[in-house]
C-alpha cells in the first residue's frame, strides 16, 4: 500500500512544524526519515497515523485520502510512537490481545498472532510479566509487537531501536528489512548507520522542509562532488612527489597529510578521476604505491551539511 504526501503543512502557533512537504513511499520500500530534533519528523508521522489533523495538504494511503474515510485507514497502519507509551500495569499477553482486538484481528486468529509476535520480538521468556516490570529494551520489543500485531501493510516506526542491545538491534534491523520487502515502512531515527543498514531511501528534513531525498548512494554522490583520494607512496622524496602530483592534468589540488609516512590527499578536477594517472606516474618514477583509497563522504557529513545552517 503506497503512502502519498502532498503539500503537507502544519503550524503550531507562530511556529511552522512542517512546511509544504511532498513525498511518496511505495510498497516494498523502507524510507528513513532523518532530521535534527524538532525538524518535524514526529509531527509528520502523527499526521500520517491520524493522531493529529492535517492543516493543509493531503495524505493518501492506498490512493484514498485520509480525510475522506472515517478512520478506516488506521487499520492498515502499525505505529510505534516515540517514547513508546505502554500500559505499565497490564501483562504483556493481555496487552497484545487488547491491541489485536482494537485493530480488528479476527478472534480466532488473535492467539496465533500473539504467539507469532512474541516469537518474532523475542519476548518468550518474559511473556507472563507485567509491562511495568520489563527493562527498557523489552518494553521497546512490546512496542514493536503491538505495532505489528495486526500484520499491517504500512509500518510507521518512530525511533524503533532505542534501548535495544546490539544483538537485538541487528535482529530488529533485519526484521525491518524483511518486512520492507512486502510492506511500506517509514522509520525515523537519529542513528545514521541504522539508516544505511535498513533503508532503501533517505529523506532528510530540517525545520519542516525536505532538504534531501534519495538512496544513500545518490546522496553521497550529490554531496561529494569531486573525487578525493588518499595515497601513500614509498621510495620517493616527499617534495618531489607532491610536485609531480600537482603537475598531473586531472589533479586540482594535492596536499601532504603525513610528512613521515608520505601520505597525500589528492582532489581531482570535476568529473575526472586521477587514479590511473597516479598509478602510471608511480610506475614511471619507480615509486611504490602502497595505499590508494577513495575517500567517501560519510552520511554524518551529509547530514551535518544539510541541517546545520
Amino acid at each position: 500500500m503506497d503512502v502519498q504526501i502532498e503539500k503537507l503543512t502544519k503550524t503550531y502557533g507562530p511556529q511552522t512544524a512542517v512546511n509544504n512537504i511532498s513525498f511518496d513511499v511505495k510498497t516494498g520500500e523502507v524510507l528513513g526519515f532523518l532530521g535534527p530534533n524538532g525538524a518535524g519528523k514526529s509531527t509528520t508521522m502523527k499526521m500520517i497515523t491520524g493522531f493529529i489533523g492535517i492543516e493543509k495538504g493531503d495524505i493518501r494511503i492506498g490512493g484514498k485520502s485520509v480525510t475522506d474515510t472515517n478512520g478506516d485507514f488506521k487499520q492498515h497502519i502499525g505505529y510505534l510512537p516515540e517514547n513508546n507509551p505502554l500500559y505499565l500495569d497490564m501483562p504483556i499477553m493481555d496487552y497484545l490481545e487488547f491491541c489485536a482486538s482494537l485493530q480488528g484481528v479476527e478472534k480466532a486468529k488473535i492467539n496465533s498472532r500473539i504467539r507469532e509476535m512474541i516469537g518474532v520480538c523475542g519476548l518468550d521468556r518474559e511473556k507472563h510479566k507485567k509491562i511495568g516490570e520489563l527493562s527498557k529494551g523489552y518494553r521497546q520489543r512490546v512496542g514493536l509487537a503491538q505495532a505489528m500485531i495486526h500484520d499491517p501493510e504500512i509500518l510507521v516506526l518512530d525511533e524503533p531501536t532505542t534501548g535495544l542491545d546490539p544483538n537485538q538491534i541487528i535482529e530488529i534491523r533485519k526484521l525491518i528489512r524483511d518486512l520492507g520487502k512486502e510492506k511500506t515502512v517509514i522509520l525515523s531515527t537519529h542513528i545514521l548507520p541504522e539508516v544505511e543498514a535498513t533503508c532503501d531511501r533517505i529523506l532528510i528534513i530540517n525545520r519542516g522542509n525536505i532538504v534531501a531525498d534519495g538512496t544513500p548512494e545518490t546522496l553521497r554522490k550529490q554531496a561529494q562532488g569531486n573525487e578525493v583520494l588518499k595515497l601513500q607512496i614509498e621510495d620517493g622524496d616527499t617534495g618531489n612527489i607532491l610536485e609531480s602530483l600537482n603537475a598531473l592534468d586531472t589533479v586540482a589540488t594535492a596536499a601532504i597529510i603525513g610528512q613521515e609516512e608520505n601520505l597525500f590527499e589528492v582532489q581531482s578536477m570535476a568529473d575526472t578521476s586521477s587514479r590511473r594517472k597516479i598509478f602510471d606516474l608511480c610506475v614511471e618514477k619507480k615509486w611504490v604505491l602502497t595505499q590508494l583509497t577513495p575517500l567517501e563522504t560519510k552520511l554524518e557529513d551529509i547530514f551535518r551539511n544539510l541541517t546545520l545552517n
Binding site: N70, G71, K74, P81, F98, Q103
Partner: protein
C-alpha cells in the same frame, strides 16, 4: 460497538487488577452502609420498610466516588502518551469516550449491585415497596451516568488526575447543591429555571417512585452533553 466493549473491558480489568476497584467499592459500601444503618437519622428511625434513607445517602457517596473513578480515565492516557497509541489504532474519539464511560458505569453498577443485601434485609423486616425500590435504583443509576459523563469530561481537559477530580467535583457541586439553593432563594422564572437544573429534585422525584419523562430527559441530557464535550475536548488536538 465491539471496540467500545474492548475498551470498557480493559478499564474494568485494570480497576480490579490495581486495587482501585476494591478501595472504591469498600469506601462506597462503608460510607453508605454506616449512614444507612448506624448513624444519625438512619433507616430504623423512619418507621417504614423502605430504603429512602439509603438512596439519599448513596446519591451523596456517588457524588464523591464517581469523580475518583473517572479522574484517571483520559488524564492518565494523555499524560503517559497512551492516548496516541489508542487513537492511532482503529478507534475513533467517540468510541474511546464511550468505552471509558461504559467501563466506569459498569464499576458503579457493581457497587450498586453490592448493596442488594440492604434490600433483602429490609424486605425481611417488613413489607417493602418493590416498585419504589426499583425506582430508587433507577434514580441512582441515572445520577451515576450523569456524574460519570461529567467526570469523563473533566478528565479529558487535563493531564493531572487531581485537577480532573476537583474539576468533576466542582461541576458536580452545582448540580448537587448550588442550583438547589439558588432555586430556594429565587422566585419566579429564575427560581423555576434553577429548580429545573437542580439534580437533587429530579433524583428525589424518581426515587419517590414517579418516573417522569422530564427527569429522564434531564439526566440523559447531562450525560450526552458531558460525553459530547469530552469528545470535543479530545478532538481539539487536531487544530492546536
Amino acid at each position: 460497538m465491539y471496540t467500545i466493549l474492548t475498551i470498557a473491558k480493559r478499564e474494568l480489568a485494570t480497576f480490579f487488577d490495581s486495587l482501585i476497584a476494591y478501595i472504591i467499592l469498600g469506601l462506597f459500601l462503608g460510607f453508605s452502609g454506616f449512614f444507612t444503618w448506624l448513624y444519625g437519622n438512619d433507616i430504623f428511625m423512619v418507621g417504614q420498610a423502605n430504603l429512602r434513607v439509603f438512596f439519599n445517602i448513596a446519591s451523596w457517596s456517588l457524588f464523591f466516588f464517581i469523580p475518583a473513578i473517572t479522574m484517571k480515565m483520559l488524564a492518565e492516557e494523555r499524560k503517559t502518551g497512551t492516548l496516541e497509541l489508542l487513537l492511532t489504532k482503529s478507534v475513533s474519539d467517540r468510541q474511546l469516550i464511550l468505552g471509558k464511560f461504559l467501563g466506569s458505569v459498569l464499576l458503579v453498577c457493581i457497587a450498586l449491585l453490592a448493596t442488594l443485601p440492604y434490600v433483602l434485609t429490609v424486605a425481611s423486616i417488613g413489607n417493602l415497596d418493590n416498585g419504589g425500590t426499583l425506582c430508587g435504583y433507577l434514580g441512582l443509576f441515572l445520577l451515576s451516568i450523569a456524574y460519570t459523563a461529567i467526570g469523563i469530561f473533566a478528565s479529558s481537559i487535563t493531564t493531572n488526575q487531581i485537577v480532573a477530580f476537583m474539576t468533576a467535583l466542582f461541576i458536580g457541586l452545582f448540580f448537587q447543591i448550588i442550583f438547589g439553593v439558588l432555586a430556594q432563594n429565587l422566585t419566579g422564572n429564575m427560581g423555576y429555571f434553577f429548580d429545573t437544573l437542580d439534580l437533587q429534585s429530579h433524583f428525589e422525584s424518581i426515587s419517590r417512585g414517579v418516573i417522569d419523562s422530564k427527569d429522564l430527559v434531564y439526566f440523559l441530557s447531562i450525560t450526552v452533553l458531558g460525553l459530547y464535550l469530552g469528545e470535543w475536548s479530545l478532538s481539539k488536538r487536531h487544530i492546536s
